[in-house]
């Protein structure tokens, strides 16, 4: 319908581009430059990493929940990390915690989430043939793959993988004599992260360029679907903050291997006074958190964007406050850069800085609150269809609220004195960033599965998966706040050394059981996911009756996504249940001139510029001379 004015010129061009020769297997499935294939590659790697990362957490939850349990049965898997008495090695415990954090934050929720959906949705939703640079996009994935290989291999080192916490604070991470994890494991961690950052930058530049340059006719920024806004801002965040992590990592590599003293000063360890003076461990913390805090939003914003789309579609209602949603995302993205030191209130940093950062941190609650209220109002007087994706989106909003609220306590430097590095922090960020973003990923997979594979996932299994996971996550992390309020420090192998932390043994056991239960529930998803790829019900073209452009492509979009002309865009993406319209949705590519019955007064005026939009055509990559 949108291509009413499809002119002959485009048909000629179409013919020109039909003679693409079949590409080799390697080029189609391995070193593919097609954004859809790359997205799938990211998705599968993300899922695999999630299984690894979650399994690690189950092992240390066993230690925490059942401190006297004999773990000999894990010896075939963990070998000498299980001592002769059947106990988990304390250094390996730290390595598990470290790798769980690293894998989940970077490999699952950054690469897995952003990599999958930015790659997949940006071209499809803005109406582009592919990413701005398919080659860079391919490089991005393969750098990530290389990084994954190095990180995964480090799990099998005799001295174990990195073990100083995912934040790898020096001097612990800089001195091999301080902990086994700072030997080869840490070297590999740093190499893997350097590769990872390269991958992120290649990807990020591509996402930004694509969104700015390759939007289809009429797709102004004020008509962009919210996921694209989210991916765009996420890429900007990554582009600015990841290089800082790279520099932090490089200086750490120098300190470790070339005798510099960026982070080291006045250290006496293992019977020896080191010559390094003048460095500052706090410098690393500043550099690390300058990435580390935006990273939280790099992980969360795509999930929020995905949720906005899904909640609106399945409430059959426009997202409430579209502009406010964008403004709050921009606000969050901006503030993300100036709050990093709230991770460092008691690091020895000047307390005056603490005051400043407390103030800036608590401001971030305002745009976050606006987002939460807007989601809730979108549900109000909707006509809600509970697809599994919708369930996960609502779950996400609940986690976002519950976990975000405790941030108001932790962002308050006076209260952070007691709660810093306790389980309260662990509970807080697992809800607001971990679980919320994981739900964003799952919601996205359920929602766009038909576009990915042309088949539907089984909704019933999806419901069961959702309810078990939703309940399970609350059972894990809600009681964890209690443990934190009681003062239990995080990264403790066991709590038996202290009188103050001897309480709550049974609660720790409960949390561990709930964690195992939640972990188990994910196998329902895996079963559903892999089964549906091959045997799922065949998907219709627009299964959720959604407005965005990706549903105007064929069920199995080929190279270039649209077989003919790329549709033009005339309206915003959230015209659901518009009064007067026949259907309860009007796709973005339907011109106002075809919906006279439902147009609002100012929209009738827009009919005049339709011709103009129709005539623009500079962004179709297939129409560029090459």
């Amino acid at each position: 319908m949108a291509t009413v004015g499809a002119n002959e010129a485009s048909i000629v061009h179409l013919e020109e581009h039909d003679h693409h020769e079949r590409q080799s297997f390697l080029k189609t499935y391995v070193f593919s430059e097609d954004h859809k294939t790359i997205a799938k590659q990211y998705m599968f790697s993300g899922v695999l990493w999630a299984i690894v990362g979650a399994s690690l957490s189950i092992i240390f939850r066993l230690q925490l929940g059942f401190p006297s349990m004999k773990l000999e049965w894990l010896r075939p898997l963990l070998g000498n990390w299980i001592s002769d008495t059947g106990k988990l090695d304390p250094q390996f415990y730290l390595a598990l915690v470290t790798m769980h954090g690293t894998i989940m934050v970077f490999f699952v929720l950054t690469a897995g989430l952003s990599g999958t959906f930015s790659n997949f949705l940006i071209p499809l939703q803005i109406g582009a043939r592919d990413m701005a640079s398919g080659f860079m996009n391919m490089l991005s994935f393969w750098f990530f793959f290389l990084s994954s290989v190095v990180m995964f291999a480090s799990l099998f080192l005799e001295t174990g993988p990195a073990g100083g916490g995912w934040v790898v604070y020096p001097p612990l991470s800089a001195l091999p004599q301080a902990i086994d994890g700072s030997k080869a494991g840490m070297t590999m961690w740093l190499i893997a992260m350097a590769l990872f950052i390269v991958s992120q930058l290649l990807g990020g530049i591509n996402y930004i360029t694509t969104v700015i340059n390759l939007r289809t006719r009429g797709m102004s920024f004020s008509k962009l679907p919210l996921p694209i806004w989210a991916f765009f801002l996420t890429a900007v965040l990554g582009l600015i903050s990841f290089p800082v992590l790279l520099s932090a990592a490089l200086l750490l590599i120098f300190d470790r291997s070339f005798g510099t003293s960026f982070y080291l000063s006045e250290i006496y360890i293992a019977g020896e006074a080191l010559p390094n003076v003048g460095g500052s461990p706090v410098l690393f913390q500043h550099l690390f958190w300058f990435l580390g805090h935006p990273e939280v939003y790099i992980v969360l914003l795509p999930a929020l964007g995905i949720t906005s789309e899904i909640i609106s579609t399945n409430s059959r209602k426009p997202i409430f406050g579209y502009r406010a949603m964008i403004a709050s995302m921009i606000g969050i993205a901006f503030l993300a850069f100036i709050v990093w030191a709230h991770h460092m209130f008691v690091s020895g940093m000047n307390p005056f800085l603490g005051s400043i950062f407390m103030f800036l941190t608590l401001i971030i609650a305002v745009p976050s609150a606006v987002k939460a209220f807007n989601y809730i109002t979108t549900l109000w007087r909707g006509n809600i269809i509970f697809t599994p994706a919708m369930l996960f989106s609502i779950g996400l909003v609940s986690f976002f609220i519950s976990g975000g609220l405790t941030g108001i306590i932790l962002g308050n430097s006076a209260l952070d004195i007691q709660l810093h590095d306790t389980y309260f922090v662990v509970a807080h960020f697992h809800l607001v960033m971990g679980a919320a973003s994981a739900f964003g990923f799952l919601a996205g997979v359920y929602h766009w599965f038909p576009k990915f594979f042309g088949r539907m996932m089984n909704p019933k299994l999806g419901y069961v998966h959702f309810w078990m996971t939703f309940i399970g996550i609350y059972l894990v992390f809600f009681p964890m706040h209690y443990i934190g309020i009681a003062g239990f420090p995080r990264r403790y192998y066991s709590f038996t050394s202290y009188d103050a932390f001897k309480t709550f043994g049974d609660l720790n056991m409960f949390v561990s059981l709930a964690a195992i239960f939640t972990f188990g529930a994910q196998f329902i998803f895996l079963l559903n996911f892999f089964y549906s790829i091959f045997r799922g019900k065949k998907a219709p073209q627009n299964p959720w009756r959604s407005n965005t452009l990706e549903w105007t492509t064929p069920v199995h979009p080929g190279h270039g996504n649209w077989p003919g002309e790329i549709p033009a865009v005339y309206r915003w993406p959230y015209d659901y249940s518009k009064p007067g319209a026949k259907d309860d949705f009007i796709p973005q590519n339907v011109p106002y001139s075809q919906t006279l019955e439902s147009n609002l007064p100012h929209e009738n005026a827009l009919i005049a510029i339709e011709k103009e939009i129709e005539e623009q055509n500079y962004n179709d990559q297939f129409k560029q001379p090459h």
């Binding site: 103030f359 269809i385 609502i394 078990m468 003062g487 420090p489």
Partner: protein, 371 residues
């Protein structure tokens, strides 16, 4: 045990979901009409909507009950005035966020239930309302401003300079224990230290070229007098550590190369706490909260809070470090030897000069010694 019951309840809930979903498909099989467009928007949609409401009600009950059960472990009895201040602030903020938590989650789950799909019904086209948006931007902003202000005032007071009459104690973190150093009874001044002088005996790197260090003594247990401001001078010897005294609401990182500090007033003695908590074995403890390696979880140091008299008595019983390590006398410069002799038992004052000790001390200047 109670948690096992909770878990069983959970399993039961899940089974219910399973049965219900199975039921839906059975019912569907009976009815046999699967309208193409609205498939899946039948019974299971209503069940999912209802489950949100059930989840909210059961969840709030479970949260309230478990909170009540667990609350006697929360924020263990504060023993410092600033601790009680932050505790009340904590509960104030907690009250505010609990209200927000209940209201927003209630609306979220209620709307999910109330507005679940109905055939022949249409959602309201309601894209924006600037007034409403303005209201819910301003309200959180105002609440945040109030919280920031109260929090900032508490933070400013806690982090202010310690009073000049504060009892100064040094606490040094190392893998994997804490060492305290007291300024001694004679000059009440901590002597210089230099990390290069550290060795197996001189664990804190005491610099004997500074006469203030002669009467310093170290201990593996911290004693502090009740009711007086205590200034902890915190440093680390190898990697990051963090001093955490849960009952005092004290936490501050120990950073190699960058001394940090924290001052507080303990106002309950160990004895008083034993009586108050009814636990005769009660002891204050100092823990480490910055991951520091294999033994991170066991860096416990006992803390004794006692009245001034017992504290004086305890400090006077402690022997200056130099007294117990007379072979380090060679590190004392010639012109201070006479002053140092006071701290050395008569029979040991003529100790032979230990060559290794000399060499170790010789190369190190005092440039890096910071107090």
């Amino acid at each position: 045990m109670i948690y096992v019951v909770g878990l069983l309840a959970l399993v039961f809930l899940v089974l219910t979901v399973l049965v219900l979903t199975r039921l839906t498909s059975v019912l569907k099989g009976i009815n046999g009409d699967s309208t193409d467009e609205n498939e899946g928007i039948g019974l299971s949609n209503r069940i999912n909507g209802a489950l949100f409401l059930v989840f909210f009600v059961v969840g709030v009950i479970a949260a309230a009950w478990s909170f009540n059960e667990a609350s006697h472990y929360f924020l263990p009895e504060a023993s410092s005035p600033h601790g009680r201040r932050t505790d009340s602030l904590f509960w104030l903020v907690m009250a505010v966020i609990t209200i927000a938590f209940l209201v927003t989650n209630a609306l979220l789950f209620y709307f999910a239930f109330r507005y679940s799909y109905r055939k022949d019904h249409r959602a309201t086209y309601y894209p924006e309302n600037h007034k409403l948006e303005l209201i819910w931007t301003v309200i959180p902003a105002v609440v945040m401003a109030l919280l920031v202000f109260t929090g900032w005032r508490a933070w400013r007071d806690i982090m202010s300079e310690a009073p000049s009459d504060a009892v100064v104690i040094e606490i040094v973190g190392k893998q994997f224990n804490w060492i305290t150093r007291y300024p001694g009874v004679d000059n009440n001044k901590l002597g210089n230290y230099n990390y290069k002088l550290t060795d197996a005996n001189n664990e804190v790197g005491l610099d004997l070229s500074d006469e203030a260090s002669f009467d310093d003594f170290t201990a593996t247990e911290m004693h502090i007098p009740v009711g007086k401001p205590i200034l902890l001078k915190i440093r680390a010897r190898d990697v990051l550590h963090s001093v955490f005294i849960p009952h005092m609401r004290v936490k501050m990182d120990a950073v190699p190369g960058m001394p940090t500090r924290f001052w507080f007033v303990p106002d309950k003695t160990t004895e008083q706490m034993r009586n108050e908590t009814g636990n005769q074995k009660f002891n204050y403890e100092i823990a480490c909260t910055e991951v520091c390696g294999r033994g991170h979880f066991s860096m416990r140091m006992p803390l004794v809070v006692e009245d001034e008299e017992s504290f004086k008595k305890w400090t006077s019983e402690q022997k200056p470090w130099l007294t117990t390590h007379t072979d380090y006398l060679v590190q004392v410069p010639e012109k201070l030897k006479a002053k140092a002799a006071k701290y050395v038992p008569a029979d040991a004052s003529a100790a032979p000069s230990d060559s290794t000790a000399t060499e170790q001390g010789g190369g190190a200047g005092t440039s890096a010694s910071l107090r």
